[in-house]
Symmetry: C2
Subunit: 364 residues, 2 copies
């Protein structure tokens, strides 16, 4: 293998594929990146057996071939080189790299030890604008569980219900559901949260429409020259919709920035109590107040003007509330609840409510 590629393109591609090759693994070859020529392109690939990322880079190929080299050293080395042409030349399992006055030899491993890249047959297929996919992931992946004892909850549930496509996630304490419009095919896929984090990481604003392909056990996301192929999580996602209250007794509507600020201030006094803050809606005063107590340190009450339909109070984890507010795409939000025990809902105050963020109350 001998080829010439620009430092800029190679460094970018190494960043994209490198992440999955830098984890702990019992198989040393998985810490390597596969390089393989393909006509006038260079394919870079890395996998941890759960997820595989590949990217094509335009290059001037003199001799075809393939090699694998350690991801971390290769990425750091290339990203520190000056801009311009880089020559890669494989000699057995050694890769010689030249760029201006820099020359290095990196010891690789034979490519035949590298796992075969996953194949996929499209059972379902959809196309989404990058901005839509990005926000849908951000609004749901946040509440996916990090507890591996319930693997189904560590992913985002991508499914259809009555002809509409939804992304949903829950960790048992909170729940987020984003509707993504009409989708006629039947789909029930639990995408690992880490896969979606990788999609966010490699996504850029100037990308074309993004294609998602599903088969029974895998999915592939095509982002211009990048392909991410991931296993899906086995199992049946819980019937989360029964946790979403059909209606609430109390609706509080206020500015999102004020709601966020009074919650943040209250949370400073809630460290001893695991973040527990008590929200009190006053119909008479048309105000929402948040109270928190730190027995040793002091106490706090913060208030904001709000449109309140009925009086009531509820105790929540302040971190969940702050993170939930960050998911609402509107300067004015509606917080709906029904007393101390029922689930609370955050939505936009006006317009199409295609996103719901549910938080379970704490015992108070």
């Amino acid at each position: 293998m001998k080829l010439v590629v620009t430092q800029e393109n190679l460094a970018k591609a190494l960043q994209v594929v490198g992440r999955v090759a830098t984890g702990k693994t019992p198989l040393p070859i998985l810490n390597n990146i596969l390089f393989r020529t393909d006509k006038n392109r260079l394919l870079l690939a890395a996998t941890n057996l759960e997820i595989a990322i590949t990217q094509y880079v335009g290059s001037k190929v003199e001799t075809e071939g393939t090699i694998t080299v350690p991801a971390r050293l290769m990425s750091e080395f290339i990203s520190n080189l000056p801009k311009g042409n880089v020559t890669l030349e494989a000699d057995g399992t050694k890769l010689h790299i030249k760029s201006g006055t820099y020359q290095s030899t990196i010891n690789g491993m034979a490519p035949d030890e590298f796992p075969a890249l996953p194949e996929i047959t499209a059972h379902q297929e959809m196309t989404l604008a990058p901005s839509v996919l990005k926000r849908a992931i951000q609004q749901t992946v946040l509440v996916a569980s990090i507890d591996d004892t319930r693997p189904m909850l560590t992913g985002v549930y991508c499914h259809t219900c009555e002809g509409t496509l939804y992304f949903a996630a829950t960790d048992g304490y909170r729940l987020a559901e984003r509707s993504l419009g009409v989708f006629e095919q039947e789909l029930r896929a639990i995408i690992p949260a880490q896969t979606l984090q990788d999609v966010l990481r490699v996504m850029t604003d100037d990308m074309n429409e993004i294609k998602l392909i599903f088969d029974e056990n895998q999915m592939r996301i095509l982002l211009d020259d990048i392909e991410i192929t991931s296993r899906l999580i086995d199992g049946i996602f819980p019937d989360y919709r029964q946790l979403i209250p059909a209606k609430s007794d109390i609706e509080v509507t206020l500015r999102k920035d004020e709601f966020t600020r009074i919650t943040k201030v209250a949370s400073l006094f809630a460290r001893e109590s695991g973040g527990s803050v008590t929200l009190k809606a006053s119909e008479a005063d048309q105000r929402l107040s948040i109270h928190s107590v730190a027995s040793q340190l002091g106490e706090n009450t913060s208030e904001a003007e709000a449109k309140v339909t009925a009086a009531g109070q509820v105790t929540l984890n302040s971190r969940y509330l702050i993170e939930g507010l960050g998911c609402i795409d509107s300067p004015v939000v509606t917080f709906s609840f029904s007393g101390k025990l029922a689930a609370c809902i955050l939505t936009i105050a006006e317009g199409e409510r295609d996103y719901k963020h549910i938080i379970m109350p704490l015992k108070s």
Copy 2:
């Protein structure tokens, strides 16, 4: 005590003094900040018994008084409040804080438990422009030792020699000396590195001339409304000047950015060998090359054009070299050495050499 102060000024002052009140300490009162009215000003003070920081804040004082409150909670609370007036009212050891729709009570401690703030008598006194002091600290504090077994080396030695003021520091492996011009008084003070880090932290570009006052055991730095008072380190600083070579056999002059880049690239291959890289000056080629070997991973040679007065090679710690280059204020640097064993010197290539950065070679 009752007073009104702006959130902006109070938040800034809490940031300045708060750092020294947030360390681990067996005395709980040292995690508190002292508030004390002084006519139409509010004094904030914190100390860890090694260093005390005070700042005055303009305020509308209704009732004089004093109280202490936990630094961390108070800082975080005030910095999260909206801009505008904040009312502070002490009630015994409780501090009531009001700002618009926010009200909190923070439990403090009686101010009579707070240590007396240090007094100082000026034996020596100097004034420096903020930009000059800042750079002199940055160029020396970096090489101060972090090894507490040799306490003298954990500070910056501020001293006079033949009527010139110097800042100097060394950890035994490298040494930095900055000359700061004429100073007629005799001075030998070892300032703790942490004190100088605090000076860098609170210094802003718009400050007036900075005054430094020394007595036998303490120093004080006056930065506008801020006063930092620190103990000095006991002991006699080693006679470091004998470590600075009077002349070197080989001088290599090259662009600082290229020297930095080839060293960084070489350092990637030097992780297994504790950062060891070998520099080779070639008089015939008028080049400096850096070579590094990672037995498992590969090897690297990077070169840069240079003005070389004689051939030679030396092995150095690449991190020391990169950090040393960062201290040189010039686009072109001169690297002087005399073979494998003698100390190496980094200086600016042309102009007044008021800064020297010495690095001891590694055995190769």
